[in-house]
């Protein structure tokens, strides 16, 4: 469903590389073939190439450079790469620190927040972290000196986490948890069995078994004996523009097992699926039936699609709490009929 269309940014970067390459001298036959294939792949590439060439030869750029020109005096020894390395090491160290410092607070009832159907609620935390609670959702915040634990009891929420390695930020679902140090991510409970979805927009999140979960397999029980924390050792790391899906399945022996699958999501697609934070729903080539199911989360009005139109694929941006407006737009766009009886809107051919 997600089309892998190159982003304008990646096309611009390729165009910049080609212009620099052409400027260095004649292309090899292989490069020439490659450039032709790239230009043929998308008209936007042709446009980006033209634009990059134009900027490169722009007389106004040249004039600005002339005016700015200072003695370049490039001394080679000054240009080391050390700072970059140091930064990377620092980042690695802080992540490790978080894994070691993780502590397990005794389960305690925290403060409870709930949102009504159609409501999107923003909850600021004392440390500057922000929670955006989606429609019809419930969570508990347990905010302590050494930990920030959120129990997501129903629905979905998006977390913008203020960085603090000493105070891990953990979102607990019924069967799995998502732990972060400083990042932004959404957690959505998918079914009543404990399935959930974790979407990360920046930073890194570990999806792992919660501490109180009974060991699902003998191997995991053994592993737990050796490691005081379930975190980090058997967790799945989800990074920016990735999505992890937690399913509750049965293993070969017929024992319940928490399964995690990881996939990359195009940055635009992730942004679209998180439009609910602004009270909007964005669809890109989903079936009408899927869109109607999504609307059902946000309003007491339900959309029922009858017959073939249920399989029609649609795109567009809509107000999450206005299913009637959505139905009107769809009826117009697909040339189908719509009728409304009480809280039920029916779309049919």
């Amino acid at each position: 469903m997600i089309t892998h269309r190159p982003s304008a940014k990646s096309i611009d970067e390729a165009a910049a590389r080609w212009v620099a390459r052409l400027d260095a001298g004649a292309l090899t036959p292989a490069e020439d073939t490659e450039l032709t294939a790239w230009l043929d792949s998308d008209t936007r590439c042709v446009g980006a190439m033209a634009r990059a060439q134009a900027y490169f030869v722009s007389p106004r750029m040249e004039l600005a450079m002339r005016i700015l020109r200072r003695p370049p005096a490039p001394s080679v020894t000054q240009w080391g790469t050390l700072p970059r390395r140091a930064v990377l090491m620092g980042a690695a160290a802080s992540v490790l620190g978080a894994a070691v410092l993780i502590r397990r607070p005794a389960p305690a009832a925290g403060r409870r927040y709930a949102s009504e159907v159609g409501e999107v609620r923003r909850i600021p935390l004392p440390d500057g972290s922000k929670i955006t609670l989606n429609t019809d959702s419930v969570l508990e915040v347990d905010y302590r000196e050494d930990s920030r634990t959120i129990r997501l009891l129903k629905g979905e929420a998006y977390f913008e986490v203020a960085k603090n390695p000493d105070r891990p930020f953990v979102v607990e679902g019924p069967k799995a948890q998502a732990r972060a140090v400083g990042t932004a991510y959404a957690v959505r409970l998918e079914d009543d069995k404990g399935g959930m979805r974790v979407q990360v927009t920046s930073g890194r999140v570990a999806v792992e078994l919660p501490p109180q979960a009974p060991p699902a397999t003998a191997w995991q029980a053994l592993e737990r004996l050796w490691t005081p924390s379930t975190g980090a050792t058997n967790g799945t790391h989800v990074t920016a523009n990735q999505e992890a899906e937690v399913r509750i399945g049965l293993n070969a022996a017929g024992v319940e097992e928490v399964q995690v699958s990881l996939r990359d999501v195009a940055p635009g697609a992730l942004g679209r699926s998180l439009m609910w934070r602004e009270g909007l729903l964005s669809f890109e080539g989903v079936t009408l039936a899927e869109a109607a199911a999504e609307f059902a989360r946000y309003s007491v009005q339900k959309i029922v699609v009858k017959g073939a139109p249920a399989h029609e694929r649609i795109s567009g941006l809509f107000a999450a709490t206005d299913p009637a407006g959505f139905a009107r737009a769809i009826a117009l766009g697909l040339r189908i009929k719509s009728k409304r009886e009480g809280d039920v809107i029916t779309l049919y051919k």
Binding site: A8, K9, D12, A16, R17, A20, D23, A24, G25, A26, L35, T36, L39, D40, T43, R44, C45, V46, G47, A48, M49, A50, R51, Q53, A54, Y55, F56, S58, P59, R60, M61, L63, A64, M65, I67, L68, R69, P72, P74, V76, W79, A184, T201, S202, A240, P267, G268, G271, R272, M275, E278, L280, R313, I314, S315, G316, F318, G325, R328, A329
Partner: protein, 210 residues
């Protein structure tokens, strides 16, 4: 860029690139700010700009274009209409906005032009913001007219590295006057929450070079 004989129609000649640089590039910020006000139509501004350049670059001749600015806006307008026809469902507001699009078609508003000028000092700031080594290579290439080979020799770096600096310089300038630019910065609502990935990439690029 050496003169070569058999080039596909999609290869942009130096002559056309210069025409675009003089006649279209200076109006790009105004075009983007105009497109931005049409954001309710749900198109991607970068896509529309790239498609517009593609049409202008591959047009058989540009001799007949008297007013390149108006012409560029008209091309962008046709690209948007094309995209709207392409998408299955158009949001309701779009239907009303297409009308508005038509009426302002020929005239970008005065504030578009004022707010989104491709002023010399704006260009200077963009060049100043380039990483030092990249800027040095860029100035030697564009102002002193040295070849990449010659720049490599003077900076005591490999030709490959110089090529990379030239590419990075172009990339950062494209971003400065496109997606990331403060004037006429064009972000679709869906992209708005990308939590500064681009900024980070920009910062990384800088670190790499310093």
């Amino acid at each position: 860029m050496g003169g070569s004989m058999l080039k596909s129609a999609k290869r942009i000649t130096d002559e056309r690139a210069r025409w675009l640089a003089v006649n279209v590039v200076p109006h790009e910020p105004a075009l983007r700010s105009w497109l931005k006000r049409k954001a309710s139509l749900r198109f991607d501004i970068d896509d529309v700009v790239q498609e517009t350049y593609a049409i202008l670059a591959t047009k058989a001749t540009v001799d007949t274009i008297n007013d390149p600015k108006t012409y560029a806006f008209q091309v962008a307008y046709s690209v948007i209409l094309q995209q709207l026809r392409h998408s299955r469902v158009v949001p309701i507001t779009a239907v009303a906005d297409i009308g508005t699009l038509e009426t302002v078609m020929d005239e970008p508003s005065p504030e578009d032009t004022v707010l989104a000028r491709f002023e010399l000092e704006h260009v200077q700031r963009a060049i100043e913001a380039l990483p030092r080594k990249t800027r040095a290579a860029f100035v030697m290439r564009r102002v002193e007219g040295l070849s990449q080979q010659e720049i490599a020799r003077r900076m005591n770096l490999s030709e490959h590295t110089i090529q990379k600096h030239v590419a990075r310089g172009i990339k950062l300038l494209l971003a400065q006057f496109g997606r990331d630019g403060s004037d006429g910065a064009a972000k679709s609502p869906a992209d708005k929450k990308k939590t500064g990935l681009e900024e980070r990439d920009h910062a990384q690029a800088k670190r790499k070079v310093h």
